[in-house]
Subunit: 265 residues, 3 copies
Amino acid sequence: MTRVVLLTDFGTADGYAAVMAGVVAAAAPGTAVEHASHDIAPGDVFGAALALSRYALLYPEGTVHLVVVDPGVGTDRRALAARIDDRCFIAPDNGVLTLVLAGASRVRLVAIEPGAAGGVAAPTFHGRDVFAPIAARLAAGEAVTAVGNEIHDPYLLETPVPVAEGGAIRGEVIHVDRFGTLITNIPASWVRRADGGGGSTVSVEGVAAGALRRTYGDVEPGALVALVGSLDLLEVSVRDGSAARRLAAGRGAQIEVLNLPGEPV
Amino acid sequence: MTRVVLLTDFGTADGYAAVMAGVVAAAAPGTAVEHASHDIAPGDVFGAALALSRYALLYPEGTVHLVVVDPGVGTDRRALAARIDDRCFIAPDNGVLTLVLAGASRVRLVAIEPGAAGGVAAPTFHGRDVFAPIAARLAAGEAVTAVGNEIHDPYLLETPVPVAEGGAIRGEVIHVDRFGTLITNIPASWVRRADGGGGSTVSVEGVAAGALRRTYGDVEPGALVALVGSLDLLEVSVRDGSAARRLAAGRGAQIEVLNLPGEPV
Amino acid sequence: MTRVVLLTDFGTADGYAAVMAGVVAAAAPGTAVEHASHDIAPGDVFGAALALSRYALLYPEGTVHLVVVDPGVGTDRRALAARIDDRCFIAPDNGVLTLVLAGASRVRLVAIEPGAAGGVAAPTFHGRDVFAPIAARLAAGEAVTAVGNEIHDPYLLETPVPVAEGGAIRGEVIHVDRFGTLITNIPASWVRRADGGGGSTVSVEGVAAGALRRTYGDVEPGALVALVGSLDLLEVSVRDGSAARRLAAGRGAQIEVLNLPGEPV
C-alpha cells in the first residue's frame, strides 16, 4: 500500500486539504492518503521544512510526500518532484526541501513540466491542479524523471549558523514548538553535560536557563531547562510550561552557551 | 477500497470525531475512514456547505461523505441520505448539501427512517447513533433507498445573489478562508481583466482593492489584490497577508465592482 | 486491516505526530494509521483519558490505541502496554487509561521493558523511540506479554465523586467541550425529568440552569439547558452558544442538583 502524505498550511476548514486528498484518491485509487499536518503557519516555509525533515524519511520507502506551503503560487517559482533516499517528494521550489536534502544520500530532482499534470492550472491553487495529480502519478509508480527535466539548482533556505568564539557559542532560536520549547540551531555535539558546575551553561537573550540537563525530570515543575532534544539540537523548555511565554522569546532569539571544564556525565 | 470521509464541527480534542470513525470502522471493516475536517466553526452550516462543495465530487465514485454540522440535533429536523453524482452523502437536513446539490446532475434523496440505524439514538449525538451507522451501511454497498423514503424537498440555504445595476455589480463576502482571503458571491463570468485602465475594479466596503488581476504575483507583497479564485468566484486577498484583517471585513461585507471598457487580456 | 489509532497533545505543526505515524507505517506496513486527535491540551492527561474512554472500545477488536500525552517523559514513570476488552493500548503510566479501565471486563497490563523497542530512547521523545515501535509490534500480532512484565498497579487518576445529601446533589464540571458544554461528574441515574415543576433542577456556581430537559430543542436558542449527554452524564449547555463562556465556568465549577417530586416523563 503506497502512502501519499500531505503537508500544507491550508488548515482543514476551507476544504482545500480535502480537495487534494480527493484528487489523489481518485487518480490513484489504491493509495492511502495520510495527513502529516495542515497547521503549518500560513506561508511558514521554514516551519514546514523543519517538520518535514523530522518525519519524511521515517516513512516506508516508496512513500510520496506532497508538500504545499506555497506563498509564491502564481509567480514563476518552479514546481519540483524529487526522489530522495527512496521516498518521493512534490513541492514548490521555495526551499521547503532544504533540510531533507541536507541529510540525504541519494537525490534526483526534476522541475515539473508545465502541462505534466494535464489541463490548465488555476493560478491560485496549484495544490489541486498540479501537485496532487503529479503525486498520484508517482504513487502509481511513475519515475520522477517522467514528469519533468532534471535540475541541480533547487532553491535552498539559508539557515542561520551558530558561531563559537572565545569559549562562547552564539546561536539562535529557529523554531518554537507547540509546548513553547525553543529549538535552537546549536547541535548536540557542541554542548556537554558535566559534574561539579562544569559543562554547558545556557542563556536566552541574556536570561540564564542553567546548566545542560538530560531531561525535563531533572528540574522542578515550572523551571527552565536546557537539554538536547529529539532533533539532536539544543532546546530550552519550561517543565510543564512554555519557555516561549516565560521568556517572551520566539524565532530569532539569541542563545549563548558557555562551556566550562568539568567531568563529563 | 471504499472511503468514508468525515466533515464535522466537532474538533478532535473531545473524542467525538473518533467516536464516529470508530463506529464506521467497526461496522464496515474494509472501509478507509478519512477526515476532511473537524474544524468547521461550531454550527457554521454554510461554511461546511462551501467546503463540501469544493471536494465532495473530486473523490472517487462510491465515496461516502458523512457530514455532521448539526446545530439542530434533537429537534425534529430530518436526517438525509443521498446519492449525488455517484457519491453518497449522509447529513442533517439543514442545508449543508445546498451547494453540492446546486451543481449536481443525478440526485436521489431519502429521509432516513427512525430506527434505520438500529437501537435508540441519544438525543444529543446523532453522529454516533444515526449518521455513522448509516454511513457504514452505504459504504458496505446498500442503496440509499434501503435506509429511508425518497423526498424531493430538502431544506436549502438561501445564498445571497449578486446584482448588476447601472454598470456596477454589488455582491458580498460569503466566506473568509484561513489566509484571510475574502471569497465573494460574484462569479468569474461577471468580471474581466483588461488593458489600459479598463476591466473590473473592485472595492470592499468602499475601500479600493484595485483592478482585477490574474494572481498574487501581479502585486507587491503586502498589497491588496482582487482575482478569480479556485471556485471561479471573485476573491480579495492581501499578498502574503490577510485581507480580512487589513479591511476588518468578514462574511457579509459589501463588494462593489465597476466594469470599465478596455482591451481584454 | 489492523488500525493503529493515535491520541496525543502534540499538535501536528511540529511534525511530532507524523514522526509517530511514519515509524508505525515503516515497522508495520499493512497497518492503517489513524488519528483520533493531536489537539489534547498540552499535558491534559484527564482530557485525554475522557476522550479515549469515548471512542476506544468502539473501534474493532484488534485495534491498537497509541496514546502519548506524557508530561512526565524523561522521569521514571513506567510505559504501559495493555490488552483491554480485545483492543490494545500503549500509553505512559500516568492515569490516561483510568476511564477505559473503569469500564473494562478483561484487562491485561504490562510495564514495557526498557529495551523492548530496541535502540536507545531519546529522553524527551518516547513517542518516537518507545511507544510507536511497540505499537507496531502489537499491530503485527505480538501479545502484550511479549513486550514487558505483567503489573497490577497502574497509576490511576482520582476522579471527583459527586455527593448526595439532604435532597441535593453536589458535583462538578469535569470537562468543557468544543461547544462550551459543561460536562459534569453526575450520572444520568442520579437525575430525572418530571412534569409539573418536579424532577431535577440544576445550577452552576449558584446560577440557575433550569429543569432537566431531553435535548437542545426543548429550549429557545441562546438559553441555558441541562440534559443528559452522550456519556450518560449530566451536562449544561447553551443552545447554539457556549455555557462555558456564558457562565465563565470551567473544569472544577460546582454543580448543584435539586430533585423535586413530580410525575416522570
